[in-house]
């Protein structure tokens, strides 16, 4: 069982080296290259994925900040515009009140004016009417004598100083 057989040993070497050479050339080189290529591809893919993930996270962060900013901005704008509207409303209200006050005053003044005018014209009218009426009455009732009597009466009633 343990006898040495150099021929067998030589055949082992020959067979082994033939297998080694053929395997290396035909199969192992392409296989190992393929495996290494694949490992490289996987590693690169992983690295790229990692990078893209980081980028995406950064983007998300930025987006979130932007959203928060926008929110506060919108809040601020809303508040501002609300204040502005309130202010404007107050102004308008005040203006309208003043306007109406002015209109009322104007109207009052006009009414007063009209009243005055009316009164004046009424007074003139009444005076004319009275004069006319008086004239008519006087024309009716007065003759020469009566007129003389009246004039005399009037002259008599004049103050003494006027006599001089």
């Amino acid at each position: 069982m343990l006898e040495l057989d150099p021929g067998m040993m030589i055949w082992t070497w020959i067979t082994f080296f033939v297998v080694l050479v053929v395997l290396s050339k035909v199969a192992l080189k392409p296989i190992l290259t393929t495996i290494e290529d694949r490992e490289k591809a996987i590693r690169e893919d992983l690295e790229q994925a990692q990078k893209q993930r980081e980028e995406a996270e950064q983007l998300l962060q930025k987006h979130r900040e932007l959203m928060a900013n926008t929110e506060s901005e919108a809040q601020r704008l809303l508040k501002e515009s609300r204040e502005l509207a309130e202010q404007r409303r107050q102004e308008l209200l005040k203006q309208a009140r003043e306007e109406s006050q002015k209109v009322v005053e104007q109207a009052k003044k006009e009414i007063e004016q009209e009243k005055e005018n009316a009164l004046i014209s009424l007074r003139t009218e009444i005076a004319d009417l009275a004069v006319n009426a008086a004239e008519k009455i006087i024309m009716h009732n007065l003759d020469e004598e009566k007129q003389k009597a009246i004039v005399n009466e009037y002259i008599k009633s004049l103050p003494k100083s006027a006599k001089n």
């Binding site: 069982m1 040495l4 150099p6 067998m8 030589i10 055949w11 082992t12 082994f16 199969a27 591809a41």
Partner: protein, 282 residues
């Protein structure tokens, strides 16, 4: 008296039978110059031995040589068939082969030799692994024999490891540097010659152990297997056959496991030895 003589006769018969049996087992695990195929005994070519340096070299194509060739062919076919493809993703058998190649590369070569040397020695170690594994497994197929159960074959393989350790060690560190690195650091100068001899003996012992480990493991399973089956012949009864066949099947499965483990161990130790010679302890 008659009874005693009949007992003696029976004992003699058993002794003779067992002798026959051991010869039968021997015959089965030994190299031969013929290949027994079903119904045909193939006589293999026999060449006259060559005498070189006083050594008789018999280069005739024996049974185990054929088995080695079959193992080599199967290994090559396995790889070429599994990798008839383009692209990065393997399929079917390719996955298994590729997994084993990656295993040998990462867990055996790179783990024992470091990144750079590991990648360089991967083809050698993968060839060791698959060649030994196929040779081991072929021995388990009926009609085929185990070439790795021949001490000359395992010695041949161990010599390849031995020469690789020496060759690549010298290539890496120079002739003087390499043999100097064999002796551990911190050894007094007076002990150097002794330590050097001890280390050389250690190297030889390691490789002899490598030879014997593979050879003994492969042959032992077959001997046990044949011994179990031989019990039927020895006892001349079929009553033992369930036991024999049962244990035989058990040993067969054990052998499958051993075939794999021994291929792994041989490759692992080769990687370790080569790794130790190319990167000696610092």
């Amino acid at each position: 008296m008659a009874m005693m003589s009949s007992t003696t006769v029976a004992a003699d018969t058993v002794a003779q039978e067992s002798e026959n049996l051991s010869a039968w087992i021997q015959h089965h695990v030994q190299n031969s110059s013929e290949w027994v195929l079903p119904g045909y005994k193939l006589e293999l070519p026999h060449f006259p031995p060559i005498h070189l340096f006083g050594i008789e070299i018999d280069l005739s194509i024996s049974n185990h040589v054929i088995m080695l060739w079959v193992a080599g062919l199967v290994t090559i076919l396995l790889f070429t068939l599994a990798f008839k493809r383009k692209g990065l993703i393997p399929g079917g058998l390719g996955i298994l082969i590729e997994w084993l190649v990656i295993f040998v590369r990462d867990e055996i070569a790179i783990a024992n030799m470091g990144e750079e040397h590991g990648r360089k020695f991967t083809p050698l170690l993968v060839t060791f692994f698959f060649f030994i594994l196929t040779a081991n497994l072929i021995g388990l197929i009926p009609l085929f024999t185990t070439s790795t159960g021949n001490v000359n074959v395992t010695a041949g393989l161990a010599v390849i490891t031995l020469l690789s350790t020496q060759f690549f060690g010298i290539k890496e560190h120079g002739l003087f540097g390499y043999y100097k690195s064999l002796v551990p650091h911190g050894v007094p100068l007076l002990l150097w010659p002794l330590m050097f001899v001890v280390e050389i003996m250690g190297i030889i012992a390691k490789h002899v152990a490598l030879t014997i480990r593979l050879f003994a493991n492969m042959i032992a399973g077959h001997i046990v297997l044949f011994a179990f089956l031989g019990l039927i012949i020895l006892f001349k009864t079929f009553i033992v056959s369930p036991v024999s066949v049962g244990f035989g099947v058990f040993v067969y499965f054990l052998e499958l496991l051993v075939a794999l483990i021994q291929a792994y161990i041989f490759t692992m130790l080769s990687a370790l030895f080569i790794g130790m010679s190319v990167n000696p302890e610092h």
